[in-house]
């Protein structure tokens, strides 16, 4: 690291070129805040501006594809294909979140007087996710994680007059603050052991020197507390059912895809780079077995607890815990095939989960309820919406011909041929997927085979825009299930992570 000021300034100037997408998001954030102050009619203009901003940021991110893999900003920030893949994912999730917010009655004019800040905070959250995916220093990891967390606390409690929303937000911030406290304590221990905060330097130090194994294990477990809370895996999952149920549904959708993906991006980078699975030295914090345990419990608890839920949002929360388990299976293989499968599955998960939540929003707009028992007879009353929901649930279960099937298939095949433990985990994964069939199909069962209590059969279709968006997501879910090669290749080319230089 340079020591004199002119050299540092020179380095920062050089790094600015690698920071254009983030700068563009920051500018968009400021623009939205300003527009919120000057405009009178915000409900259409601000989402449109946000979408255009996301597209422009996407263009700058696309230009990063040809950039050399390198660290920038005094080794705080990395640009590599791995980060770029996740940036596209976050932009996609953010754009979908903006689109589904526009249609939500929950966040409509009746309930929320000022919506401008909502979009600004959403943009800040996307910015935080960008930084999470490319952080290469523990300082940057902590700050990026907190940027995402604090923004999501605000969004969760955005419905100020609803007790549920405030309560979810309070629970979220308490769990979040404790987990990030645990994480930063673990980071301080790692810093004490190695004297470094940069993850590449930590790896170098650990492989070259003898480090106290017990302390390193403890530190890694504490750091895992922070990551585990972000990805919503057992035993750090307690917040997620309550937050998913209480938060406005568009926010739930964005939390379940965006912050989970960001957590995985940071977790993969941290554990692959800083604490390699097979270090050259004597020492090995055996995180593979540890992750196997977390993944196993997440799959079991998530799928079995979901059976007893009657609130659809809550059920999807438990399903997202189970999905964190499946994704961890891909992480713990610790090779490129597994990482590639995780990236593909996260992209697939984004499409199908946002789709499912969007349909939940559309139904709640009409019947004012998220309870599965109120979904009776909807197959006749909202045919297109019900069909879309069924497709998303098929995909979440992991049945062909949907993208969820391909994702699960890739994860399970990555586990094959690696030993009995991995094979057992893959088998348990398949079996728990079969369990998930039971609770997912409760919804189509109610929609198609049961009559609503009052016998109402009047159709209540949503607007043309809503139908188009639901159909678009449905086509993506099936389309990527049939023609998955481009996405799979993109994931394959993006596993290249900057390793030690």
């Amino acid at each position: 690291m340079p020591n004199n000021l002119p050299e540092i300034i020179e380095q920062v100037k050089l790094s600015l070129g690698a920071f254009v997408p983030e700068i563009s998001l920051s500018a968009l954030f400021l623009l939205v805040i300003t527009l919120d102050m000057v405009l009178n009619e915000k409900r259409v203009v601000i989402p449109m501006v946000s979408l255009v901003g996301f597209v422009i940021t996407g263009f700058f991110t696309w230009q990063q594809l040809d950039m050399p893999n390198q660290e920038y900003f005094l080794r705080m920030h990395v640009v590599d294909p791995f980060a770029v893949f996740f940036k596209f994912l976050f932009l996609g999730a953010g754009a979908l979140a903006v689109l589904i917010t526009m249609d939500s009655e929950e966040l409509g004019e009746k309930n929320v007087a000022n919506i401008g800040e909502y979009y600004a905070v959403l943009i800040a959250m996307v910015l935080g996710m960008f930084l999470m995916a490319s952080a290469s220093d523990m300082l940057m990891m902590f700050l990026a994680l907190e940027l995402v967390s604090i923004s999501s606390y605000i969004l969760t409690g955005y419905l100020k007059h609803q007790i549920k929303s405030s309560e979810a937000s309070l629970k979220y911030i308490i769990y979040g603050a404790v987990s990030s406290g645990l994480m930063v304590y673990g980071m301080s221990l790692i810093y004490g052991l190695t004297g470094q905060t940069n993850i590449y330097e930590i790896a170098k130090f650990i492989s070259a020197n003898e480090v106290d194994e017990v302390t390193l294990t403890l530190a890694a477990l504490l750091v895992m507390g922070g990551f585990g809370y972000k990805i919503g895996a057992v035993p750090f999952h307690f917040w997620s059912p309550d937050v998913y149920e209480g938060a406005p549904t568009p926010v739930t959708a964005f939390l379940s895809v965006g912050s989970k993906a960001a957590g995985f991006a940071m977790l993969i980078r941290f554990f692959k780079v800083a604490i390699p699975a097979e270090p050259t030295g004597e020492l090995a914090f055996d995180w593979v077995n540890f992750f196997a345990l977390i993944a196993l419990v997440s799959m079991l608890l998530g799928n079995f607890a979901a059976i007893w839920q009657s609130n659809v949002k809550r059920m999807l929360a438990y399903s997202s815990i189970a999905h964190a388990g499946y994704l961890l299976l891909g992480v713990l293989v610790a090779d490129d095939l597994g990482t590639q499968a995780v990236m593909f599955y996260l992209a697939a998960y984004t499409v199908m989960t946002v789709g499912a939540f969007y349909v939940v929003i559309l139904i709640a707009n009409k019947i004012g309820s998220d309870d599965v028992n109120d979904y009776r007879g909807l197959g006749k009353r909202m045919p297109l919406t019900a069909a879309a929901l069924t497709v998303f649930l098929v995909s979440l279960t992991g049945l062909p011909p949907t993208v969820g099937f391909i994702g699960k298939y890739m994860i399970f095949t990555a586990l094959l041929g690696k030993g009995t433990v991995f094979l057992t985990l893959a088998i348990i994964g398949v079996l728990t997927s079969a369990v998930s069939l039971y609770y997912y199909f409760k919804i189509p069962l109610n929609m198609y085979l049961r009559e609503s209590e009052d016998g109402a059969e009047t159709p209540m279709e949503s607007s043309a825009f809503a139908n188009a968006l639901a159909a678009f997501l449905m086509i993506l879910t099936i389309g990527f299930g049939l023609f998955f090669t481009p996405l799979a290749n993109f994931a394959k080319n993006s596993v290249i992570m900057l390793v030690m230089n």
Partner: protein, 101 residues
């Protein structure tokens, strides 16, 4: 007595544990936030101690950012408590139990 690195680390671990226990047993949301602050300050202490004994500046840099984040978190946290109090007239988390299952 000469004060060594270990003394700081034990104090920091003790403060951190007190903070964690406080979060688990206290029922007042405001007190819980205070306990979280205690946890973060324990972290700061261990960073500063390491930084001093390793003769390295990076640890102290972390402390500044941890303090800033703690302040931001407290601001948002108190805002959430206020919005909850307007709806429920309580900050006791045992009475805040609408969401469960």
């Amino acid at each position: 007595m000469h004060i060594e690195l270990n003394h700081y680390l034990w104090l920091s671990a003790f403060m951190f544990t007190v903070g964690v226990i406080g979060v688990l047993v206290r029922r007042n949301a405001i007190v819980i936030f205070m306990c979280v602050e205690l946890m973060l300050n324990a972290v700061n202490l261990s960073f500063v101690a390491f930084s001093h004994f390793l003769s390295d500046i990076q640890g102290q840099m972390m402390v500044f950012f941890v303090m800033t984040v703690a302040a931001a978190e407290a601001a948002v946290g108190l805002a959430i408590v206020i919005s909850l109090f307007r709806n429920r007239q309580t900050v006791n988390i045992d009475e805040i139990n609408l969401l469960k299952g």
